[in-house]
Symmetry: C2
Subunit: 331 residues, 2 copies
């Protein structure tokens, strides 16, 4: 296994691999980590296996590699990678450098598993075709709803179903901020509080202006509705213009504001949007607070099939990658 | 394909098979119906294939079978069954005759797909082991939540996840009756209305006293928590004792009554119940009205993962059997 990026997601993944080792053995799945790379660590490869407990303690012993790898291809080769776990930071605009990492892994015959939405939005068709041609798999369950089984449910559990559209709440940061505003805070106060508890990033633009939600909409449309959609084709409006008063008045009136993601297919194609909408209390979206997420699918067989992730834990995103790994090597 | 029972579910299944024929062909799945049986039709087998369009119009032409089959085994043999779709009426107490039908199919090497909860509750271990020993599959997605992908999600999309417990609303009839009572009807009036629209049966005891919900709880516990549980071990209380006034007062106070299904694992084993409970409006269960269903799972990786089926259509149960069929022959 090769880990690219060694932040929260891949660290948690290593811990889950350790915790679930006996269950993996029952499935006849063995593993060792032979490569790890990040901006601060550089490209570290050791085909006999790195000490994963030491890795989690921040101790990386490289062994006696004579010529350390200089780029992703050399690294994958030196590590004899079977599976790449790609968890570098997202570039919304072009999906790089994650696309190059995944392409390199697939070309080498390794499976590629990513928590990074960029490659789905910008290179899904190319990377899927490349994976097929190499007999490898390209999986990405953790890109939407923290590893809750959205993509795998449609692929494995809903055969021959047609998705007509969906509605949902897919960005936690804005939902936490809106919840804080309902509890009496101003937008700025609620944002600051969300930053203090680690939900909002230092530069929260990506979430607040609806980019993160739009990228998730694009990923769902691309994969589940099988239509490529440009980010610019998604109507996008963030929550910055909402005042605390407006948010509280909306909740009191029984029609709270939510940052609602939508996509719908009609005879002219797919229409998609991300914007604050007031939803009635009878709508399940109205009750999704804090870091919870929901998506309601409209399909030809089920007029409304909703998946809700309530108070996701820290493990959920890494679990999605672990589940992709199990799927990949079980088939 | 052999259809046992030819009521709504298997009739709709035949229509779906027709509608989805081209998609099945894309998956290299061909089909023909070689056997059909019900109390009124008897055992009809025709290995070259029956005319399914005629079947839907109620015209069953048997061909020139010299000696018609006299029982399920003769019927499966004469029909050269590859897959049995079992959709006879449920016997809660012993799961018969469905268990015998499924056993006969599996012993003959055919796959068995059922919409009938009895065999899960009374013979899951035996039938699963039999299927394994024959290289056949025993699938039952349609037994809980009308074919929404519950069992397949855990089996295929949530590998290595441990289910600690669940809560849900799994019986539509009682939920429709409670919704009617909230709208001003008495229990008897609401029951009568539910019978008029075809949601409640002429003898509604099975639903109203919580048996249907308890059987579904038992099925979920047996399969997903991997513990056999007797129906009598599930605390069970129906909705017959609730007055319209009590139901309306509970809704007005913001804590509506729902017939809540629960199961939870602790150090002493699994505790399960079906009973009317008042749930707060912040609970997603509070907003499940009419024929909608919900189940919230607590797992080691997801503290709360909920599946909601909103206003299920008539096709959902038959779709669950179709999806089981596709899974069965795709693997």
């Amino acid at each position: 296994l090769c880990l690219l990026g060694f932040g929260n997601v891949n660290r948690t993944l290593v811990r889950l691999l350790q915790e679930k080792t006996s269950e993996l053995q029952e499935r006849e799945i063995g593993w060792r980590i032979t490569g790890i790379a990040s901006r601060s660590l550089g490209w570290i490869a050791h085909a006999e296996g790195l000490d994963h407990s030491a890795l989690l303690e921040g101790k990386v012993s490289v062994g006696s590699t004579s010529a350390p790898p200089q780029n992703v291809r050399e690294w994958l080769r030196a590590a004899q990678a079977d599976v790449l776990f790609e968890a570098t930071s997202l570039s919304v605009r072009d999906g790089q450098p994650a696309i190059d990492h995944i392409r390199a892994a697939l070309e080498s015959g390794a499976h590629a598993i990513t928590a990074n939405k960029g490659p789905i939005v910008h290179a899904y068709a190319e990377l899927s075709a490349l994976a097929d041609s190499k007999g490898a798999r390209f999986l990405f369950e953790s890109t939407v709803m923290d590893g809750a089984p959205i993509f795998s449910m449609f692929r494995d559990s809903l055969p021959a179903v047609h998705l007509r559209g969906f509605r949902g709440i897919l960005n936690s940061t804005t939902n936490v901020i809106l919840s804080g505003m309902e509890d009496g805070l101003s937008f700025d106060e609620s944002l600051k509080k969300a930053q203090e508890v680690g939900v909002a990033e230092t530069d929260p633009t990506h979430d607040i202006e609806g980019w993160d939600a739009a990228v998730k909409v694009a990923a769902l449309v691309t994969v589940l509705m099988e239509e490529k959609i440009a980010l610019d084709a998604i109507q996008r409006e963030g929550i910055r213009e909402l005042s605390g008063e407006a948010v509280r008045a909306a909740r009191s009136s029984g029609n709270p504001y939510k940052l609602v993601c939508r996509a719908q297919r009609d005879e002219n194609g797919i229409h998609a949007s991300v914007r604050p909408e007031q939803v009635p209390l009878s709508d399940p979206l109205a009750w999704i607070t804090g870091t919870s997420n929901i998506v309601c699918f409209e399909t030809d067989m089920f007029p409304g099939l909703a998946i809700t992730e309530i108070n996701p834990g820290l493990d959920a995103t890494a679990y999605g990658m672990l589940a992709d790994f199990i799927r990949t090597v079980s088939n």
